[in-house]
Assembly symmetry: D2
Homo-oligomer: 317 residues x 4
């Protein structure tokens, strides 16, 4: 019965373009708030006065406002897609190597890994994303191409690509990630060469996409795992629920509780300032604004999502 959803939220009477216009105007008043990620120069250079929002409804329509067609570094948003690919590769075996629970705070990540014998708490922490990357590396003949093609297909944009400069910068400054990867490897929970895993991880983080691309790219998570255009199965219905629930409980760094309240949708953020979200059975969406709050989520993006769910009544709670 699960395939016949009981909760197709009602959009009757909502003027989505008007709502996006209002949000866009409100957000632009607040440009300058937040702090741009600066751990690598190519991210630090992005101007803060940018905001885009895009909705990709399951009926095929797209609504957008602001800089919704400007590309940015998707960073950790990519973890949603590699998680999907890892589930394709080995199914529920994945959960023997990475857990599905919230992580508490960053402070604990290493001690948790030690305590839990190298099993990361969830696939969206860096540790979990490294294990996920390792699974993708083992599971596909040409993992980089597989990931690129996955995103080009999901977004319908054949020009989705990676940013070599960003990937290289990450590689040059990522001592923590190298530490993490070697630590996990010491527990036997990485099977590929540590540097290969890191290189794939830096590559996935360096993907550049815009809000419309990303809103489309998460539509399958609103559609029980199927592409709404082609009807192709991207992941199982159960896999979809799993991914959405991990987004809800662990998608926004240490602010998952706050997002569940303030936004009320499964969401995944990246330090490039993007956040994707899912209204189950209705749409994929994406916001982008480079200024981050102290938890590392887009400050104005978070506000925009809050306004959106409050104005539309589309939050899950």
């Amino acid at each position: 019965m699960h395939e016949t959803p009981r909760n197709p939220r009602d959009l009757t009477g909502l003027d989505l373009d008007d709502i996006l216009g209002t949000i866009n105007a409100e957000v632009r008043q607040r440009f300058g708030e937040g702090r741009v990620a600066d751990y690598i120069p190519s991210l630090a250079d992005v101007p803060r006065d940018r905001f885009g929002i895009a909705l990709a409804l399951l009926d095929g329509s797209v609504h957008e406002a602001g800089n919704a067609r400007e590309r940015f570094s998707i960073q950790s948003i990519s973890k949603v897609y590699t998680l999907t690919l890892a589930l394709e590769a080995i199914g529920d075996e994945l959960w023997k190597r990475v857990d599905r629970e919230p992580s508490g705070d960053p402070f604990n990540s290493l001690i948790q890994l030690e305590h839990e014998k190298g099993i990361p708490r969830n696939p969206f922490m860096n540790a979990g994303a490294l294990v996920t990357a390792d699974v993708v590396l083992s599971g596909f003949d040409a993992p980089e191409r597989t990931l690129l093609e996955f995103l080009r297909k999901r977004s319908g944009n054949p020009e989705v690509g990676t940013d070599e400069v960003v990937a290289r910068s990450e590689r040059e400054s990522g001592y923590r990630n190298v530490a993490l990867a070697n630590f996990i490897r010491s527990f036997g929970n990485l099977h590929n060469d540590v540097q290969d895993v890191l290189d794939f991880y830096y590559l996935q983080c360096s993907l550049r996409m815009d809000c419309v691309d990303l809103a489309r790219s998460v539509q399958y998570l609103a559609n029980a795992g199927r592409c709404p255009v082609s009807g192709e199965r991207v992941t199982s219905a159960e896999g979809t629920t799993r991914i959405n629930s991990v987004m809800m409980t662990a998608g926004t760094y240490d602010a998952a509780g706050d997002f569940a309240f303030y936004v009320g949708l499964p969401a995944k953020s990246g330090v490039g300032g993007g956040i994707v979200a899912v209204v189950p059975h209705v749409m994929g969406l994406c916001v982008w604004s480079p200024g981050l709050d102290e938890k590392g989520n887009s400050l104005l993006g978070r506000y925009a999502l809050h306004r959106f769910t409050r104005m539309t009544g589309l939050a899950v709670f």
Copy 2:
């Protein structure tokens, strides 16, 4: 616009009594699984071959199956109600004394408290529930009576009461809670006498209610904060969203991620074997079966909720 919800899930064509009957039959096949909480004798004595389920719809109808009219010790389910009362007492000031984020694992609770200067991660961890109890103690003239009357009103059952034997047992064996309370007190985050806070906490945990009582008692969380019978405002719409989101991300001990996937509803469990859950805009519900899984949640209760959301399509994801 928030007051006009967009997600009133469709119940058309669902035979809820039939579904509950099926679940009840399935669960009874599995009696004997799980382990009854035995840290105090009065809990250990409860037989494992019990299962009840009750739905309290916003239209006033109640559906039930199994031992839905047998009372049990609600234990940590009470934290939902004291949280509601604490918000009534001091509003968002509460969040200066307790955070709203998932907690990671129990292993970290004390070190987190130390690290975070006595601010518990959320109101559903024991530490957070002690702070919440402290707020209720300060906020009402007759806190015990206030809590009892709250539950009698919410459940419509004037006979809701506490179990002195359970409260006394908890008091006699709760060294950890005494440790926790004194530790929080050392940070100045309890304002009342430590023993008074503990006594109130043991009292709230010792409340006895049945599935029907409890399903009705969480209806306001499905109804934007209003009692569906009297229309009385119990908590604000924002407060409701807050409570539901904390239930989703932290309501089931260390299994919140698993529950978000497997059940997909805001829920709060207790070691007495009860679990309340909320289908926003539709109903409050409650399951009960005393055998616990290794995370401390009712093993068969969790299964029943899973079956329920899968059979009805009412999960939020």
Copy 3:
């Protein structure tokens, strides 16, 4: 052969009174440094311009300078004596309930207790001292009197007593100790009533003695466990070595490494500003000055001991 020590350091040519006079003069130049413990009022009231030093040689002679006859609150120095009594009560069985290793830093005390199932790292951490107090409580019919008589005999001063005001203050403000005691109790590693253990612990910390008393009171630790006056065995030769080695590796809070270098003698400090030390085979000694350094050890006392071992060549390294 152990009973015939090979390392009776040579005192030939040392004018101990001259050395103490020099140190006393140097220290008085620095009065005002350090910070007096202020967690209870009766400690905060002690003036900082006090310094005493006393040596009690095994030949019976005593050398002293400064305020060596002014009493102060011995606080954690008492842990040396309760450790001795606990070894008398149950011998090496004690080491099943408390370990003998350095503790790292205070930050870890609770997590270590959790990780190590309620076994404190050593008898000089508060947690370990509570277990030691519990052993003394079980091991003697009149533990308070036993402790008092032990110190009166060791010091030769029948007027050694406790300070009710200090003990009461500790009791009123010691939420952390209450937390710790209940936490240990939850692991079953306290056998007496928690409050009784705490009361005994506060009593031992409230003992008042002067430098001469204390220097004499540790002579048995310089004399293979025997009283140098009466020849009475206080503890075994092995027990003496054990106590000295715990003092060396864990006697000065988180500064054991620093003390081993800077002072080079087994030592035990208290927040009242006293520090006892042992020159094996030669003497017991004690310094006192109320101003503490950031680790909680007497700032000028530490300096005085450093000067003393550097001027005399009596450090063990």
Copy 4:
């Protein structure tokens, strides 16, 4: 006055050869106890039925028994020498980058590093040894040769060398060390290339020496920092005290408290089964037996040192 030591322990009447013979015979009865380090094959291959002991007195005499002329992998014993070289290179500046306190337990090492901003607790933990290696790398033009020459001079054996196979094995299996080094690097507390630091560290651990070499190599630590043969100053008197005190409080992994009691001398162990120790003002000594106890120290080596100090009365306590 420090240069004229007051504690030249008396060797009169001790027949050191007889004592070593007794110990050697006792130890051989127990061959087979302990577990050989097996994390790299070249260590796992060493037979357990080996025991050597050597004393190098400041008067130039050497006493030995058993396999005192068989070389083994010195492993962490090398940390004593790189610490000496790091102090030569930058003096007390070293202590801004590494602390001098015991570390608590291994469980905490990463969380401590995080908490203490990348400053390892002491130079004998792996983290601290990596920082020390980094200082040596920066401080000498030809650091490998400097280290080799240091040990050839100290031991008087021009054939001291490294074991390429061991160094390579360590490099291939040392994921934890790579993790650690990158983690420290992320705090800015390694200045050289991470791989260069690791390579130097693996090289120092792969040094091969015998008991006589090693006993001679620590003589300067018994002689206030001077070579007893040439009179050359190896390190300052204060540096000597510092190194000895770090050996006492942190030289034997998590068993420093136990060693202080059971052996009572500054000592440094390695997983190759060697332990060096210092009797201040009297001798350097070394024991070797490959079987390790559960803390990673040579089980029979520890026993031999215990017997030695108990038979000679040369322990510092």
